[in-house]
Amino acid sequence: MSQILTLDCLKIGRSAKVIQINHTGSIRRRLLDLGLVPGTIIKAELASPFQDPVAYQIRNALIAIRKEDSRNILVEEL
């Protein structure tokens, strides 16, 4: 059963499909450039010692995103 959640709630080690990016402006564009377009499969890979930011596996690269920013990304857990 699939479940829609915001990216910051995705547990470490789990994968998800990007549904929607609710950002505007330059961060939206930055995320798109990094390959975070709707439909992309990403995986929560690493949490930093204070649990924020979290590094995600996005198209073979490891990208750290702050919770503040991942909160506005909707994903479907796989």
Binding site: I27, R30, L32, G35, E45, A47, A61, L62, A64
Partner: protein, 678 residues
């Protein structure tokens, strides 16, 4: 005619290695006109043809966010060039091809260079280069730039690019977009726009990038968005989704990658992930970072001792000959004294104190950098910077500051937000640079650690030093926080940080590079500022007004204030005169105490300690000396760099005032409590 070639690519794909492999020593660096973005241009020849190679700042896409990305975008869109080499990371092809596809929309004269093939082979990732070439419709070359493999092939493809039949692949967008593109192209054809594909321009008009629109207006002196025919087409634009451009290109590169890449070992990143888990976990992440810091300090301190002594001995041995020589050419005795006592002694002090620790510290640091550890440290510390409303990349600049604060200030260019960059610049001086380490270490070994040369003593030295560094880092956080609440009010901007794969550093190259690029560079600048400083100090100490030298007058004048903050006038004068280079603070101080006309060497730590105690030093003086060393105005080079990077004297003055005030307040506090309990 020279051919102009641009070199583009994502950050961290070995672009500069390719640049070096192609141009060798024939390169010059500077800044892009009007920008604080460094520019590298090189030259090379191949088969009788002359080429000029322009290294563009690394970028993820042509829609720009930072100053560096704007430079790249504007160059590719508006400048004239013959070809572009797009460098791609073989392990991250999807995202890299994304940029290549975007560039192909601007120009068909592209050679795609798939770099780091050795890394891919090691991880059993196979890339079908012929197929990729066929699919992209432009030449594709595989390279291992670090081993100089594939460079010949790259040159050959570049050489034959002109005669080649290129049919660059096109990204197709939705029917609605393509219809609009056709309409717009028809309108644009009537305008006098020659040097850019109209399809690209039409796409950007539909995308509505206000920054780019302004650049287009500036460049061609026409306002496209005000054109009636164009705005009519764009009017019915609202039903086109915002991300379709980014998505369409990304999907195309995803599909291409699927076709040409095969993974024989899907778990190839397992080891990297294991190391990552240890380096960034809740329990071990921070302690391991501290341990790493301490090991580096320990190696620097213990490793530098012996060569420092050797250099000291060498210079004092030579000194006799220099004096004799000057006498031989019948140089007047005052000039002799100025040249030897003023300049030569200051210079030899700076070189012997600075050179050995730098020659150890910089290579070690560069090794960490090459390994890919630094981004992990920024990742671990980001939460702290987030709380301070600052950027996590500030951690990287802070670490560069350990080497040299001026370098750290230049390093803040990686921070996109102007506000966050200013915070990083103003707080960079809170971590001690290599020039300040020796003073701190001497203070620790004299007053905080029992003076003997056993291994335990040097470990407790390292512990103290680490504690002092942590104090500096703590202050960085505190001041960043306060700045975000007052002078530089604002919320943290969004931030993404790439953690690149670990790479095996090339030891030999790292050592050569860090010694030539960093160590000698910093040493050279220290020497340049030391010569006038040495002269000034000599003059102050040797010209008397009344029955005292000017230096003594200054010392006496500053003494009451010095006493108030728990030090003395001599120490304050030394810091003031040490403005050109922090390394000379300690020798100036000793010179004043000994009332000698020249900079003095101290024979041993215990002799030095006796001298200081004779002049009323207590443990409080030593502690406050350390505090002032950590928190005072940046050296002259750093100040100039700050002025250049911020383009304003105001911020330079702030960068002088903030740490100085912090230092004075802290000294007042320690003095108050010390006197309270004694």
């Amino acid at each position: 005619m020279k051919k102009k070639i641009a070199l583009a690519g994502n950050p961290n794909v070995g672009k500069s290695t390719i640049f070096n492999a192609l141009t060798g020593m024939h390169q010059h660096t500077g800044n892009w006109p009007g920008k604080t973005v460094s520019q590298a241009i090189g030259e090379f020849q191949y088969r009788g043809m002359e080429y000029e190679l322009i290294d563009l700042p690394g970028t993820y896409s042509l829609i720009s966010h930072s100053e560096e990305e704007t430079v790249t975008r504007n160059f590719l869109c508006f400048e004239e060039y013959d070809a572009v080499i797009v460098v791609c990371d073989s392990l991250c092809l999807e995202r890299n091809l994304n940029l290549a596809l975007q560039i192909l929309e601007i120009t068909p004269n592209v050679v795609v260079c798939i770099n780091l093939l050795d890394e891919a082979r090691k991880k059993k990732v196979m890339i079908n280069l012929e197929l990729l070439e066929k699919k992209l419709g432009v030449p594709v070359v595989g390279t291992e730039a670090r081993k100089k493999k594939g460079i010949d092939c790259l040159l050959e493809k570049l050489h034959s690019l002109e005669s080649e039949r290129k049919k660059p692949t096109k990204v197709r967008y939705s029917r609605k977009v393509e219809e609009k593109v056709m309409e717009l192209e028809a309108i644009l054809k009537k305008k006098e726009i020659t040097d850019i594909p109209l399809r690209w321009l039409a796409l950007r008009l539909i995308e509505k990038d206000p920054v780019l629109e302004k650049e287009i207006t500036d460049h061609w002196k026409i306002s496209l968005s005000e054109d009636q025919a164009i705005s009519k087409v764009l009017e019915t634009n609202s039903d086109i989704g915002k991300d379709i451009f980014a998505s369409a290109i990304m999907q195309k590169s995803e599909q291409l990658t699927k076709e040409v890449v095969s993974y024989q070992n899907p778990d190839y990143e397992k080891r990297s992930r294991k190391i990552d888990k240890i380096l960034t976990s809740k329990r071990t992440g921070i302690p391991l970072m501290l341990l790493m810091l301490m090991v580096i300090f320990w190696l620097t301190i213990t490793g530098a001792n012996y060569p420092s002594q050797l250099l000291f001995d060498f210079f004092s041995h030579i000194e006799g000959y220099v004096v004799n020589f000057l006498e031989f050419i019948s140089c007047p005795s005052w000039l002799n004294s100025l040249l030897v006592g003023g300049i030569y002694k200051t210079l030899s002090w700076v070189v012997s104190v600075m050179l050995p620790p730098m020659a150890i510290f910089f290579p070690l640091f560069t090794l960490l950098e090459d390994l890919g550890v630094l981004p992990r440290i920024a990742f671990n510390l980001d939460k702290g910077f987030q709380k301070c409303c600052a950027c996590g990349k500030q951690a990287l600049c802070m670490m560069m500051g350990f080497g040299c604060n001026a370098v750290g200030v230049i390093g803040t260019r990686i921070i996109d937000s102007k506000r966050e960059r200013l915070i990083a610049i103003l707080t960079n001086n809170f971590v001690p640079c290599n020039g300040r380490f020796p003073t701190i270490i001497v203070m620790i070994s004299m007053f905080l650690v029992a003076a003997n040369s056993s291994g335990i003593a040097s470990i407790s030295q390292v512990l103290w030093l680490t504690f002092i560094i942590l104090l500096g880092i703590g202050m960085t956080f505190l001041i960043s926080f306060l700045l975000s609440k007052t002078l530089l009010k604002g919320l943290p901007s969004s931030f993404t940080l790439e953690l690149p794969p670990y790479r095996k550093p090339q030891f030999f190259k790292v050592i050569v590079r860090s010694i030539f690029d960093k160590t000698l560079h910093v040493l050279f600048r220290a020497v340049v500022v030391t010569i006038p400083a040495g002269t000034l100090i000599w003059l102050l100490a040797n010209i008397s007004i009344g029955n005292m030298s000017i230096l003594a007058h200054v010392n006496n004048f500053l003494d009451p204030f010095g006493k108030m903050i728990g030090v003395d006038g001599v120490i304050l004068t030394a810091f003031l005169l040490g403005f050109p280079a922090n390394e000379i603070v300690l020798p100036i101080m000793l010179m004043s105490y000994l009332s000698l006309g020249t900079i003095t060497d101290y024979a041993s730590i215990s002799e030095l300690k006796t001298l200081l105690i004779d002049h009323g030093w207590t443990i409080l003086t030593a502690i406050n000396m350390i505090i002032l060393c950590l928190f005072h105005f940046p050296c002259s080079t750093t100040c100039l760099t700050i002025k250049k990077e911020t383009g304003s004297i105001k911020w330079m003055l702030y960068s002088i005032l903030i740490p100085t005030i912090c230092g004075i307040i802290l000294c007042l506090l320690t003095t108050f409590f010390f006197r309270l309990f004694n």
